[in-house]
């Protein structure tokens, strides 16, 4: 297992380097000069501009600049935010836990919805339950998160007035009320993201369980006298999860798409909404750092999926 883990870790380094190379190329190809402002300012003589360029190494060959940039990204030296006047890493570390909390709960909700429904659908294919579940799943992943978010706000906040539609980091209550307020304001963003993920997952689970459930070893398990529940849960679902985990890993980049949008709709103070405000404020260091953080999260989660895969399918560890 540890050898497998090590190999996976080593594979993710070139992936990360590759992603950073793509990011850097985009930035390097982009027009505009960080010293443009100085160029138009008549008080700054051209020699000063030139020496500044030389000092920051802007005239160096692109390879050198990439290595320097990637090095400082790895060291956590992400620069200085133009608009909020703090270091980018402080800014992102403030926001990251909220994003991870909302994303994690949403993913959990998705799995909790998809596993039982997908399995029950597959156990009785083409039954009334299956048809309703399949149709709802289809509708669920055809509804874009920005529209579901607005519908939720319209229904739960405006029409019923049950839930707040703005996520606040500074809740003044204490004790149980504090936690309750936090849960209450997280319900809608988590539900929007989680149900979207759950809808796609339900289809994966259904088809994976359907593939497994007709195999001979399931009949063997039944013939041994195992109860139907044990047969399905321990024998069928566990094996069906192997392809599901692969598909989930492929879905990881799309989770972040949903995260950015949901954070923006409900004004969740995470890195997704930070990204949007940074773009609106032309805050390039923050934009680059957040895109890099998202890429790192994708790579880390892929690694986690690989580990889960190794646990679900013991044959893999020894390869």
């Amino acid at each position: 297992m540890s050898k497998y883990l090590l190999r996976r870790l080593l594979i993710s380094i070139p992936v990360l380097a590759g992603i950073s190379l793509i990011l850097f190329t985009i930035l390097a190809m982009a027009p505009g000069d960080p010293f443009e402002e100085l160029a138009t300012n008549p008080n700054v003589p051209a020699e000063v501009r030139m020496s500044l360029r030389a000092k920051f190494g802007l005239d160096d060959p692109i390879g050198v600049r990439y290595v320097r940039w990637f090095g400082s990204m790895l060291r956590g030296d992400w620069g200085f935010s133009f608009s909020s006047r703090v270091n980018v890493d402080t800014l992102i570390l403030q926001r990251l836990p909220t994003t991870l909390l909302v994303l994690g709960s949403a993913q959990l909700l998705g799995v909790l919805v998809a596993l039982p429904i997908g399995t029950m659908s597959a156990v009785r294919p083409y039954s009334v339950f299956d048809q309703i579940a399949t149709t709802l799943a289809f509708i669920g992943f055809s509804l874009p998160t920005f529209f579901t978010g607005l519908l939720f706000i319209l229904f739960f906040s405006i029409y019923l007035d049950w839930l707040p539609f703005i996520y606040r980091a500074d809740i003044s209550a204490t004790g149980w009320r504090f936690y309750w307020e936090h849960v209450r304001q997280a319900i809608m963003p988590v539900a929007v993201l989680g149900l979207f993920q759950g809808a796609a997952l339900t289809r994966f689970v259904r088809s994976a369980v359907l593939d497994v459930i007709r195999l001979d070893y399931i009949n063997t398990a039944r013939a041994k006298g195992l109860s139907e529940q044990v047969t399905i849960a321990k024998h069928a679902v566990r094996n069906a999860l192997i392809p599901v985990v692969t598909l989930m890993a492929l879905q990881i980049p799309t989770i972040f798409t949903g995260a950015v949008i949901t954070e923006q709709i409900f004004r969740v103070p995470g890195i997704g909404s930070l990204l949007i405000s940074a773009i609106l404020a032309n805050d390039t260091p923050v934009i680059m750092a957040i895109t890099f953080v998202f890429s790192c999260l994708v790579v880390t989660l892929n690694l986690a999926a690989d580990l889960l895969y190794g646990w679900l399918d013991p044959r893999i560890s020894y390869r």
Binding site: V15, A30, F138, S142, P144, T257, I261, I279, I287
Partner: protein, 314 residues
């Protein structure tokens, strides 16, 4: 989707060979497609949407930018079937106009994704070895990219240049289409490569090779046409994904400018007036939802229709 009774299934099985006097692969696929009721219905809905956005502005001649503050934020009425926005502009007219852009972005981005995907997949599958290995590592790398953040980054960095070069409308269109297409080709590349690997060992390709067909002809005439089934399915789903991507971008206020009211852009403008003008958000949102749902069902139907090995069970 109802489970067919055994006798029914038998009846179709008996009927099929009699009809197969001239079985073309495509007419057979079309027959299978029509059997998938929801897919057929989806095709109908999508077709009527396309007709509406193409012919609608010719029939419904209300200007999209006629400002009328006396009639602002009104619900649906006879004068404005889908209501008005905060400037008193007609929502229906704007949706019909913006729908053209939304659908065009979807189709154009899909074509780009498919072209890159087929090219990369075919090259990898045909040459194998080091070329294959390199291309597939690049594909894996692109799969790891977080799509929306990157999309936002590229649009942010390059929007002004393209606006200057091609004008505001065409510039943003080209940029958005190119970036969405350029970030969605990976599944197609994988599919095509897998198809190539299995197809080039098949006997009919061997026969073509034996008859002296040059490699290029083998690929174009023999392998590629047989690899197209899954590509068509993936392409269909890509149209939906591209429409969502464009809408997301516009919804975040970073896509098309306000004078080009794509459905996502209308939603962006409408979202701050949800409490007193819900119609303004609900109609464009429903349009996006219906389009995406129809396309997804069509993709589902095509998947069933284009897989000749699959036996029709319903």
């Amino acid at each position: 989707m109802a489970r067919a009774l055994p006798s029914e299934r038998l009846a179709t099985d008996v009927r099929v060979p009699a009809r197969r006097t001239s079985p073309s692969l495509w007419s057979e696929a079309f027959r299978r497609f029509r059997k998938h009721r929801l897919a057929a219905f989806g095709a109908l809905v999508l077709l009527s949407m396309v007709v509406a956005v193409l012919a609608g502005p010719l029939v419904y001649r209300v200007p999209i930018d006629e400002i009328d503050f006396k009639a602002k934020l009104r619900g649906p009425s006879a004068a404005h079937p889908l209501g008005t926005d905060d400037l008193g502009q007609d929502v229906l007219a704007r949706m019909l106009y913006g729908g053209r852009i939304s659908l065009a972005v979807g189709i154009a981005a899909m074509l780009i994704a498919i072209t890159i995907g087929v090219a990369v997949g075919a090259t990898a599958g045909h040459f194998a070895g080091i070329v294959d290995h390199t291309l597939m590592r690049i594909t894996d790398l692109f799969i790891c990219l977080p799509q929306l953040p990157l999309l936002l980054l590229i649009v942010y960095l390059f929007r002004e240049v393209l606006k200057k070069a091609l004008g505001p409308e065409a510039g943003v269109f080209v940029l958005i289409v190119a970036v969405i297409g350029g970030l969605r080709w990976m599944p197609v590349a994988r599919l095509v490569r897998a198809q190539f690997l299995s197809l080039r060992e098949q006997q009919f390709v061997e026969a073509a090779r034996g008859l002296g067909a040059p490699p290029f002809r083998q690929v174009i005439r023999h392998i590629l046409p047989n690899a197209m089934g899954p590509v068509i399915v993936a392409g269909t789903i890509d149209v939906a994904a591209a429409i969502i991507a464009e809408s997301s971008l516009s919804f975040l206020g970073l896509g098309f400018p306000p004078d080009i009211p794509t459905w996502g852009r209308i939603l962006f403008d409408a979202k701050d007036n949800l409490d007193f003008a819900p119609h303004w958000a609900i109609f464009p949102g429903t349009a996006i939802f219906l389009t995406v749902l129809s396309i997804n069902y069509i993709g589902d139907g095509l998947r069933d229709a284009l897989d000749p090995r699959k036996v029709l069970s319903h």
